[in-house]
């Protein structure tokens, strides 16, 4: 993968009247990368994508695509093409005509158009549906046609706006992997917007978390999951227990945090908060163990005493919920083994334990 920059966004903002949909975003995406913009609905990720595509004009800031400032260019003058959520196929054209539309605009010879459309139909797995009209296609097939219509143009950057959101869960999973493989095959830059973190994890090389119109954090998918810097990221990705507290001291790369009812010691992760700073500490739910009181634990484990609440069976995993002395619920999640484990009575006192090194400190 070359490290040339495909997308460079500086201080990008978009206002709708008094509403700030996007505030001062700086972002760069490398060429040939599968990049995901992940965040809650209404957070501004689609606004960012539409700014990249040229469908809306930035209120401030600049957009460089392959080093060229396109901030003031309309969509048809940008090296991008876009896949929409749904209903974006031209209903009066059949599958082949939909895919060939952009090539006809370029006034390519008919023979070449036919060749490239046929090749694209095979690539997206619709070889035998060339003459179908869009309304006679399933949701997944419609999205494949959209993909084909964009990819056939061989633009440098493909923008995908919640491309799988209208599909059912099973199909979404299959299409996710297909998208990933397709991107590896064609090798161009994909920028994919989604609110679904599993989808994001499946496809992304790198991703950016966007919420409340701001870029929260960027990084590799695995890094964001395992080592989030921001409280929001920790909360948004995966199922995470977050404790709020105050810094009482630091020593040798470790920070002491007082939760009010207990104290934690957590790796400072390169951050140096002052004593008295309000911080949060997170631990992912699959790392939390629930032990009966009185069982000895290893020295590298952090323990807290809690009251056992209930077990929630979720199929693959079972979530155990326990309450801390301050009333906060902590979730421990484990793969359901199917073995009959001895049942803990609700209300009984338990020890929660997790590896100290897996806790993360968040200043913001």
């Amino acid at each position: 993968m070359s490290q040339e920059i495909a997308v460079q966004v500086t201080d990008l903002s978009k206002n709708y009247g008094p509403v700030q949909a996007l505030r001062g975003v700086d972002l760069s995406i490398a060429t040939g990368e599968y990049f995901v913009l992940l965040g809650p609905s209404g957070g501004g990720k689609t606004t960012l994508l539409r700014l990249l595509g040229g469908f809306i004009r930035p209120s401030a800031g600049r957009i460089l695509l392959h080093g060229i400032d396109v901030s003031e260019q309309p969509p048809n003058h940008r090296p991008t093409s876009m896949v929409f959520q749904s209903f974006a196929l031209f209903p009066h054209m059949n599958v082949a005509q939909n895919i060939g539309y952009g090539l006809r605009l370029r006034k390519l010879p008919k023979v070449e158009i036919d060749e490239r459309v046929t090749a694209m139909l095979d690539l997206v797995g619709l070889g035998d549906l060339a003459n179908r009209m869009p309304h006679a296609l399933s949701g997944g097939q419609q999205q494949r046609v959209q993909l084909g219509r964009s990819l056939v143009l061989e633009t440098d950057i493909l923008l995908l706006d919640e491309p799988l959101a209208a599909l059912d869960a099973k199909l979404r999973k299959d299409m996710c992997l297909e998208l990933k493989h397709l991107q590896e095959q064609v090798g161009i830059t994909f920028v994919h917007v989604t609110h679904n973190q599993e989808e994001a994890m499946t496809v992304a090389d790198n991703m950016a978390i966007i919420a409340d119109g701001e870029l929260v954090e960027t990084g590799a998918a695995r890094d964001l999951y395992e080592n989030p810097r921001c409280r929001f990221t920790a909360d948004f990705i995966g199922e995470t227990n977050i404790f709020d507290g105050t810094v009482t001291g630091f020593n040798n790369g470790e920070v002491a945090v007082d939760l009010g009812f207990a104290a934690l010691t957590v790796d400072d992760n390169g951050q140096c908060p002052n004593v008295g700073t309000e911080v949060s500490v997170s631990i992912r739910s699959e790392l939390v163990q629930i032990l009966r009181s009185g069982i000895a634990v290893a020295a590298d484990q952090q323990t807290l005493t809690a009251n056992y609440g209930e077990a929630v069976y979720l199929g693959l995993a079972t979530s155990h919920v326990a309450a801390l002395p301050n009333g906060q619920a902590v979730v421990a999640r484990h793969v359901s083994t199917g073995l009959a484990l001895d049942v803990i009575a609700p209300g009984s006192s338990v020890e929660l334990a997790w590896p100290r090194s897996m806790m993360r400190l968040h200043l913001s």
Binding site: G54, L89, H92, L105
Partner: protein, 296 residues
């Protein structure tokens, strides 16, 4: 058709009632058609079937000239008002100030025809006086007649009258159009104009054609504004009405009226049929989208 328990007779009665209302409304037209085939004309005691009057339509120069004028007016009204209505509908979909836009565009409907007509008449008369005065002042005369009553003033009246209808008819079909398709076309490399012509227009075509038909029919229909503003020219309605007010309609006029009715009924009928077929098709497509034929 109501639920399974409702009486089939109440359904039939509703149909019967609807047909009765339509028949009553259309009765005068049927009578005109009936008279147009009578050798002895209106009010004669004896009815003798003939096609003679239809043959003579084309020898009545007054009627023929009026028909020509009406067609010219209808053609120009269509050519000017339909694009205006289309642009207005596009603007309506894009703007935030929807209530203001729709109130302004529909306001000509709320001004009575004779008031609008006479207001325009006064306006054009004053414009003429102004032109003549300025011309005299400058010592030139070439723009003295620019705003004299005639085609131009009649057209202004007709365009003001037809625009609200055209706007509404186009807007109804445009409402179903998904703007995302325009964006998809733009991202495929289309200019705004190409996206409109190649992607949006084919989908709103039915509305635009209905609007054209409306413009023509309304022009044929209009009397008050046109008769005030037409100057020395005659239109079909003005000829028919003046005949009626004076010596009674000629036999050829009955034939001409019937002919126009036939054409209008055929035109409206085919528009309704086309719209029904079209909406049936769209519904089928919507159902197909809601329940995909196969998965994968």
């Amino acid at each position: 058709m109501g639920d399974d328990y409702s009486s089939v007779w109440s359904y039939r009665l509703k149909w019967l009632y609807t047909l009765l209302v339509v028949f009553t409304l259309m009765l005068p037209v049927f009578y005109v058609i009936y008279v147009s085939f009578n050798q002895n004309g209106f009010g004669a005691a004896e009815y003798v079937f003939t096609l003679e009057w239809y043959g003579e339509i084309f020898s009545d120069l007054l009627l023929l000239g009026a028909l020509g004028n009406t067609f010219i007016l209808a053609g120009i009204t269509l050519a000017v008002a339909v694009p205006m209505g289309l642009i207005a509908a596009k603007f309506y979909k894009a703007t935030e100030a929807k209530l203001l836009t729709v109130s302004l565009l529909l306001s000509p409907l709320f001004v009575p025809a004779d008031i609008l007509g006479s207001a325009l008449l006064v306006f054009f008369k004053n414009l003429n006086i102004a032109c003549a005065t300025i011309g005299e002042w400058l010592g030139v005369s070439w723009f003295d007649t620019w705003f004299e009553l005639g085609y131009f003033s009649a057209l202004v009246g007709l365009i003001i009258y037809t625009l609200p209808y055209i706007f509404v008819v186009i807007l109804i079909t445009m409402g179903r159009y998904n703007e995302q398709q325009t964006e998809a076309a733009r991202s495929c490399g289309a200019t705004a104009w190409q996206a409109f012509v190649q992607v949006e227009f084919p989908q709103i075509r039915a509305g635009v054609f209905s609007a054209c038909a409306f413009a023509v029919i309304l022009t044929f229909n209009e009397y008050t504004r046109t008769s005030l503003l037409k100057g020395g020219y005659d239109t079909i309605t003005s000829v028919l009405i003046s005949q009626m007010l004076n010596e009674g309609m000629s036999e050829q006029s009955y034939a001409m009226s019937s002919l126009i009715s036939f054409i209008a009924i055929a035109l409206i009928g085919s528009i309704i049929l086309y719209t029904l077929v079209q909406s049936e098709r769209l519904e089928r497509e919507a159902r197909a989208k809601a329940e995909p034929v196969m998965s994968g």
